[in-house]
């Protein structure tokens, strides 16, 4: 362990860093496939199940158990490969990756090593720049199949992290869930846009997965995870620099922030005449920085060998071609269709894409809301909440159907925008459906004229000077009374109607 290395060194100014160095990215994205059962056994894969209840002798690695491959997992992987323009191997095998770590009870993980199922693809990614949208083709090196690992909880120690922990507790519900790893080739030439490109790549990849319906791709639940490799070099003609691999990047905004942080950290090191250590680093959402994990200088010795308990996978050409013919229209085509239907400009649509809000807005519109209203709430108030919580929009505990209901309540005059914001707060706080929050918090707009008239009279009586001005014809003075009534009704009055009533009472 290198305790000294975990002290965050000074960060270079970002503009100076990208002026002095050429950043190169490599992105490894793990996606949990949304199969009903695990990769090699029939255990369920539901998220959030009771601890160690979706386990069996196979995924617990008990003696005598044998893995049997999930046909659907192979099919989903091939579909992902095809959607990314990959070649599908005619024949490939699984390999054992041997290591001692309690997240895999077998002491090895079944993965693919030198024979991945899919190779040599690409994904076109739109990045919004000050000069407009530019499309970057990201080359995909491989897509391979493996099994997910269990989840460890480290107990004791000052930080709750592994260093200094007294012991660990492990839940194997996730162990054996089908996982695919999508690895890019080095992404070069993006310069100062590298952080935005990284985010746009993961966003676009997530869109592809959703479009194929192979995964629920929820970063906050870990069904899509990104490791970001970053290296710097003086000039694009230089060989690749030493890279760091940042793990634990669990939201779209973290992907961008982590890459930006690594560029600044490495630039500061190189500026000072130091060198970048090839190592795993861990992203910390709270501090917006990375700390050193394990050094890769003593390269891991996983002693991969062909998995003897599984026979090779040899996809029949007819089957692959059938899967190819059954692929849905590409996510990018679907996005353009939506953009046309919604009548949005390129920057407007790109903003939705970058916020990871295309599907959320789409589902909200599908639930009956107008596009503009759906967009306004997701990119406005809800984006503000997501930012505050440091998560993505999709991680907020509010559904598109609930947002659509909110829009409807505003449209029919039950709520105004101010009240709607309070309803959102209530829904996010777990107070129930929008209608329940309205009822429990007593939030509906007061449209009862008698009640409003009483409030207006009270406000006029409380401020006779202003009342006199209005009576004297100074209509602009009515604003003060309207404000007083809105305060008195805790924002629940229809301001337009209050204004009418004020003028009515003063003539």
């Amino acid at each position: 362990m290198t305790v000294g290395a975990s002290v965050t060194p000074e960060l270079a100014d970002y503009d100076e860093a990208v002026a002095s160095y050429d950043p190169v990215l490599g992105l490894e994205v793990h996606v949990e496939l949304g199969t009903l059962s695990k990769m090699f056994c029939g255990c369920a894969t539901a998220f959030g199940a009771e601890l160690n209840t979706q386990v069996c002798p196979t995924c617990l690695g008990l003696p005598g158990s044998l893995p049997v491959l999930n046909q659907q997992a192979v099919e989903s992987t091939i579909r992902v490969g095809l959607a990314l323009g990959c070649d599908i191997a005619a024949w490939c095998r699984f390999a054992r990756k041997n290591y001692f770590y309690p997240d895999m009870p077998k002491n090895f993980q079944i993965s693919q090593y030198d024979e991945p199922l899919c190779t040599d693809g690409h994904l076109d990614v739109d990045v919004l720049t000050p000069a407009g949208t530019t499309t970057v083709r990201v080359e995909i090196e491989r897509v391979h199949m493996e099994e997910d690992t269990g989840k460890s909880l480290h107990v004791g120690g000052a930080t709750g992290r592994i260093h200094g922990a007294d012991y660990s507790l492990v839940d194997y519900n996730r162990a054996g869930i089908p996982l695919i790893e999508i690895v890019t080739k080095p992404i070069e030439g993006t310069g100062r846009l590298a952080p935005e490109l990284a985010r746009a790549y993961v966003t676009t990849l997530r869109e592809v997965m959703r479009n194929l319906d192979v995964s629920d791709v929820r970063m906050e639940q870990g069904s899509l995870r990104c490791d970001a490799n970053v290296s710097l070099r003086r000039s694009p003609s230089d060989p690749l620099g030493t890279r760091s691999e940042t793990k634990n990047v669990n939201s779209l905004r973290s992907v961008e922030r982590a890459v930006r942080h690594e560029i600044r950290r490495q630039a500061a090191l190189l500026d000072a005449g130091g060198r970048v250590v090839q190592e795993t680093r861990h992203w910390h959402e709270d501090t917006g920085s990375t700390t050193s994990g394990r050094s890769k200088e003593q390269a891991e010795d996983y002693r991969y060998f062909p998995e003897p308990d599984l026979v090779p996978v040899a996809p029949v050409a007819d089957w692959v071609e059938r899967l190819r013919s059954e692929l849905p229209a590409p996510a990018s085509v679907r996005r353009r269709e939506l953009q046309a239907r919604w009548g949005m400009s390129d920057p407007e649509m790109q903003t939705l894409v970058n916020a990871g809000a295309v599907d959320l807005v789409g589902d909200t519109v599908g639930a009956g809301a107008a596009v503009d209203a759906a967009r306004k709430w997701w990119l406005g108030e809800l984006a503000r909440h997501a930012n505050e919580r440091g998560t993505d929009l999709s991680a907020l505990p509010i559904t598109p159907a609930q947002v659509a209901r909110l829009v409807q309540l505003v449209e029919d005059g039950t709520l105004n925008d101010q009240l709607a914001r309070q309803v959102i707060e209530g829904v996010l706080a777990g107070e129930g459906e929008p209608d329940q929050v309205v009822e429990r918090r007593g939030l509906a707009v007061v449209s009862d004229d008698a009640a409003l008239t009483a409030a207006v009279d009270e406000a006029l009586a409380a401020d006779p000077e202003v009342a006199e001005k209005i009576r004297g014809g100074k209509v602009a003075a009515a604003g003060a009374i309207v404000g007083a009534v809105m305060r008195a009704t805790r924002g629940q009055a229809d301001a337009g109607r209050v204004r009418e009533l004020v003028l009515e009472r003063c003539t």
């Binding site: 362990m1 199969t35 009903l36 059962s37 056994c41 029939g42 255990c43 369920a44 601890l51 160690n52 209840t53 979706q54 386990v55 069996c56 995924c59 617990l60 008990l62 049997v68 491959l69 999930n70 046909q71 659907q72 997992a73 192979v74 024949w91 095998r93 041997n98 001692f100 770590y101 309690p102 997240d103 009870p105 460890s152 909880l153 480290h154 004791g156 592994i162 260093h163 922990a165 012991y167 660990s168 507790l169 492990v170 839940d171 194997y172 795993t280 861990h282 994990g293 394990r294 010795d301 002693r303 062909p306 998995e307 003897p308 599984l310 026979v311 090779p312 996978v313 040899a314 029949v316």
Partner: protein
């Protein structure tokens, strides 16, 4: 293995580390030659002419053995934890892990 075909002391130490075995120097000296005997026995296969034999990783010439994506009942939490040396709050309890972060 070194060029002479014998396993080196460093290799024994490395293998022991990978297998999480704590060997004292005497044991390294004792197990090295024993591993050598095994390696030499296996390496005799290199004397055969295998130019016409395709490499194989399985005894059976099968491919695409799969099952359909159906959920089958597994173990209960109690059953799952019943063989564990230690458990706590529904989880397997394991010694702290050093040298790696997760």
């Amino acid at each position: 293995m070194s060029e002479s075909g014998s396993i080196t002391r460093d290799e024994v130490v490395h293998l022991a580390r990978l297998a999480r075995l704590a060997l004292d120097p005497d044991e390294v000296d004792r197990f090295g030659p024993q591993l050598d005997v095994i390696l030499h026995a296996v390496s005799r296969i290199q004397e055969l002419d295998t130019a016409d034999v395709p490499p194989t990783s399985h005894a059976l010439p099968l491919t695409n053995v799969t099952r359909s994506d159906e959920v089958r009942a597994g173990l209960t939490q109690e059953q799952a934890l019943s063989g564990a040396p230690a458990a706590e709050d529904g989880r397997f309890r394991v010694p702290r892990i050093l040298g790696e972060d997760a």
